[in-house]
Symmetry: C2
Subunit: 348 residues, 2 copies
């Protein structure tokens, strides 16, 4: 390990173009602040009050079909709508507002109310990957949509209001902030080097192994050199893939494998149903061409030391620069060593 | 109100150069997710176990003086240290790490364990303003320090681990991310217009009144047009002030007045001790010259609908673009109407 990694330093995120602060000496700090409630996690496989369970009625009286694999629908409380009316943009220099159209969908990962991705078998996770691809295809073909953001908020601590395994998709007319920075940075790198930034990056990581969590033939799971959340990871394809719909059948199997192994490790880390926000980034689906893009999955988990002690991204982080305590190298070593069998299965 | 403010739209933050998503139609959404624990808020005025109370012993055996107004000291678990050793920077294009020196301080706002800023009288808040100025002066004169970030994490939900009224200062060798963007944007605006961006902005806001919360002779409190947190506000001086140490005595009184009135309104909003992260931004203290800078205070409060229902900045916000439900105009109208006498005082 480079010795700079042992004392306070800044690292650069080449994907966003921003710096973060790493304070490795701070891990010994005692914690007297807020502790998260520990959830028992025991759920029934069907909940008559859940608006995502098969056959149940949702807001506005719509009834879900008795689906047996996955199911998706337009979000009943969409943040974006396909029509915005005839409103004019506000175009003063210091007051700029632009109408934004979009489509928001909810994607149910399983009919079973009591499962999480970490507790699913390979076939069930492969169904989710296929759902992501299908939804991506449909939404990216809508003519006014430039970006399709697939994500999952997992756990109450991440603002998820229903334990039924599900994700969301917000697709929009304009490219959102982070994907737009990632586009700029990757395309600029490509212009300079004639090769995709994240493939060059992965090559070095595979050589060094220090931040690799696990791999299979088509994907690598790693803790980015510039990770800000304590156990943040990224899943990267090992060949260039600009968006998720380019994955072949065997690659989708291997993405399901990577997602399954990572989420089991996460649950095993603090022997809890591990919370996170996850999202899939890929090239915009507007008319541009993006030879520098490499699709990837980001996992941003909030827990720091245990099932009840989280990292707060607050004062300094909101006002100045994101800050982390344990180093990405330490986090990767811990995740790498964790077993790939779920702790609840080991017991039985 | 411009009619675009009624349907989904994006707004531009000229201070950071980033867009946010506004979804006014989403306020009706029911909430079945996590509720924050309500704190009783009753504390003793002295707590023998508090490491910030006068006369008590801190980590490492240091004893606080029996201070009677404010008190500050080097953070016992500093994220930044004055010495980083002899480590060399890592300078590959995709792996960049740079040693970072700095000084972290804890600033106690009062000897009384049971007070919050909202419950302090004018003289007590004026003491805090003087403390900010003193600390800013001392730290900004350290030769290797380029930026002095004063902030307060208020409430357990904002990662504050001790209710004793206090803030922090992290001062660093390099300019952190957000202040550096604000520097770039304000100086660029100044080059174009020969006047400070935030003074031009304030002029329009004072004319329109729609987002103004309250004012006094020297300061205005407003909800920025580009606010992302539900009840986010900014305190702005009405003449150009590049950093807090330039404030005159009467101006410091009026800053105390603005801070006091705003925090009382915040507590009154949901009849709770209102959580927030607050921070003071001003020009860097390196050798540069910053004719475009206007100092300001940001308040980022997490609550959305009640003392127990917060806004989660999660999936879409972390991966794509910050999103808000109630509009800045609605938030400002609500804050403006709230009384300036604390709800607990009214009762007694
Ligand atoms: O230093 P504290 O108050 O213990 O820590 C708090 O504020 C810091 C600065 O915003 C954050 O990095 C920590 O995550 C938070 O818990
Ligand atoms: O749509 P949901 O799951 O109710 O809402 C959750 O995810 C959204 C997208 O990240 C956030 O804007 C909300 O704050 C959060 O509570």
């Amino acid at each position: 390990m480079s010795s700079i990694h042992r004392s306070p330093h800044r690292r650069f995120n080449p994907l966003s173009g921003e710096w973060l602060l790493v304070s490795p000496q701070r891990t010994q700090r005692p914690w007297q602040g807020q502790k998260e409630a520990e959830k028992s996690g025991i759920q029934a496989s069907y909940d008559p009050d859940c608006y995502l369970c098969p056959g149940n009625t949702r807001a506005g009286g719509i009834r879900n079909p008795r689906y047996t694999e996955t199911y998706s629908f337009i979000n009943d409380f969409s943040a974006l709508l396909p029509e915005t009316g005839e409103e004019k943009a506000v175009e003063q220099e210091l007051f700029q507002a632009v109408p934004e159209r979009g489509i928001c969908r909810v994607i149910c990962f399983s009919p079973r109310h009591d499962l999480t991705v970490a507790r699913m078998d390979h076939g069930e996770i492969r169904n989710i990957v296929d759902l992501w691809v299908r939804e991506y295809r449909d939404l990216s073909r809508v003519d006014y949509i430039s970006y399709v953001q697939i994500f999952e908020n997992r756990g109450e601590i991440m603002g998820c209001s229903n334990p039924h395994p599900h994700g969301q998709i917000w697709s929009s007319e304009h490219i959102p902030e982070l994907p737009s920075k990632e586009t700029e940075r990757q395309e600029e790198y490509f212009r300079m080097h004639r090769s995709p930034m994240l493939l060059d990056y992965l090559e070095t990581e595979l050589k060094e192994q220090e931040r690799i969590v696990c791999t299979n033939r088509d994907f690598a799971v790693l803790v980015p050199y510039w990770a800000t959340w304590p156990y943040e990871t990224m899943i990267l394809p090992r060949r260039q893939v600009t968006s998720i719909d380019e994955l072949s059948g065997p690659e989708r199997d291997n993405l399901a494998d990577a997602v399954g192994r990572l989420t089991v490790k996460y649950d095993n880390l603090f022997k809890t149903s591990f919370p996170y926000s996850m999202g899939i980034h890929g090239a915009p689906c507007d008319t541009g061409s993006y030879p520098g893009w490499q699709m990837h999955l980001h996992y941003f988990p909030p827990l720091l030391r245990s099932a009840t002690i989280r990292k707060f991204m607050v004062g300094y982080e909101l006002l100045a620069t994101p800050q982390r305590d344990i180093t990405p190298e330490q986090a990767a070593a811990i995740l790498r060593e964790l077993p790939e069998t779920h702790y609840l299965e080991e017991r039985s």
